[in-house]
């Protein structure tokens, strides 16, 4: 299946949950947050969130701002 992470396509062999996917992508710690197909996913819901073919994931972290 193919999913989009921060706009870039990634291929995975089988469907998985968000927690596992983030781990595979190398995200760790607590200074990031996630939206799936444009909707916020709370950290507590990562395990229960199924990732399907074609899903678009946004992973964001703090930056400077005005």
């Amino acid at each position: 299946m193919q999913i989009f992470v921060n706009g870039e396509g990634h291929s995975f062999e089988r469907p998985t949950d968000l927690s596992n996917l983030l781990q595979q992508l190398g995200y760790s710690g607590e200074t990031f947050a996630v939206a799936l197909n444009g909707d916020f996913v709370p950290r507590a819901s990562y395990l229960q969130t199924e990732i399907k073919d074609g899903d678009a994931l946004d992973v964001v972290a703090p930056v400077v701002g005005g």
Partner: protein
């Protein structure tokens, strides 16, 4: 000593809010924020790859600064985008304060009033303390208050332009018609004199970024803005004199030397 700034139940000594972007280096940003005396700083969220660590480094500093964090939704063009980014901000920054931006025009970064009100209504419902970046339109501001915003942040001029207070009439109207609402001039301030002007008009605070970050000496400019905001606020509290059309001597005219009664005989 002037009274404190009260926003959403929190009191602040400083009436200058500053952004953290566009500085020549993180070290100069930190030094500038400290020199500004600001107790509220803005920041944001952007996509990040796992190998990047800038987010954590910034977060470590911000967390230690002791400042109230004011995450923004810069770049969002729809309520849906702004609401998602707001939720992500609340999770990461552990604050329900939010500088809400819903942009309606790329060219001058003008807020979209319809999207802004819709997003504000939903975010207030979700428990956010919304500080909307808005235009100086009285009706839009009233609608934002109606949906639950307790603080408004009308623009002085478009973001990053340094044009100052472009529409004094509208801004003065806001101040007069919404006397009890904390009003923060956000964006467009380019010089300390403009910040002082806003404070003299009775605005509760100013928020700026570019004018400090893009100065040749940001740390010194941060200090200049701190002094200007303090001066402007003190002037407002003291009460400005009324303007007059004609001159009025400040030095006593009574007992002026060289005056002879006879002089008047030659006049007229």
């Amino acid at each position: 000593m002037t009274e404190q700034l009260n926003l959403y139940g929190s009191a602040f000594d400083s009436r200058l809010l500053v952004g953290t972007a566009l500085y020549p280096s993180p070290a100069i940003m930190r030094e500038s924020v400290e020199a500004s005396g600001s107790e509220i700083i803005t920041l944001s969220l952007r996509r990040q790859n796992p190998e990047q660590q800038q987010g954590k480094m910034l977060w470590d500093y911000i967390r230690d600064s002791g400042c109230q964090l004011l995450p923004n939704t810069a770049g969002c063009k729809t309520p849906r985008e702004a609401i998602a980014l707001a939720e992500m901000s609340r999770e990461i920054f552990q604050t329900d304060w939010l500088k809400l931006e819903v942009i309606g025009d790329d060219y001058n970064l003008q807020p979209d009033p319809y999207g802004l009100i819709e997003a504000a209504r939903e975010l207030v419902r979700r428990g956010f303390k919304v500080l909307p970046y808005c235009t100086d339109d009285l009706v839009v501001c009233r609608k934002l208050l109606d949906v639950g915003c307790e603080v408004l942040m009308p623009w002085g001029a478009p973001i990053g332009t340094g044009q100052g207070l472009l529409n004094r009439y509208n801004l003065q109207t806001l101040r007069e018609r919404l006397p009890k609402v904390p009003l923060i001039i956000d964006a467009g301030i380019g010089a300390p004199s403009q910040a002082a002007e806003a404070m003299e008009m009775g605005f509760d605070a100013v928020l700026l970024n570019t004018a400090i970050a893009k100065a040749q000496n940001p740390v010194l400019m941060a200090r200049a803005f701190r002094l200007a905001v303090e001066a402007g606020r003190s002037a407002y509290s003291a009460g400005l004199m009324l303007k007059r059309q004609t001159a009025s001597p400040s030095t006593p005219t009574l007992d002026m030397p060289f005056w002879q009664q006879a002089d008047t005989a030659f006049q007229d």
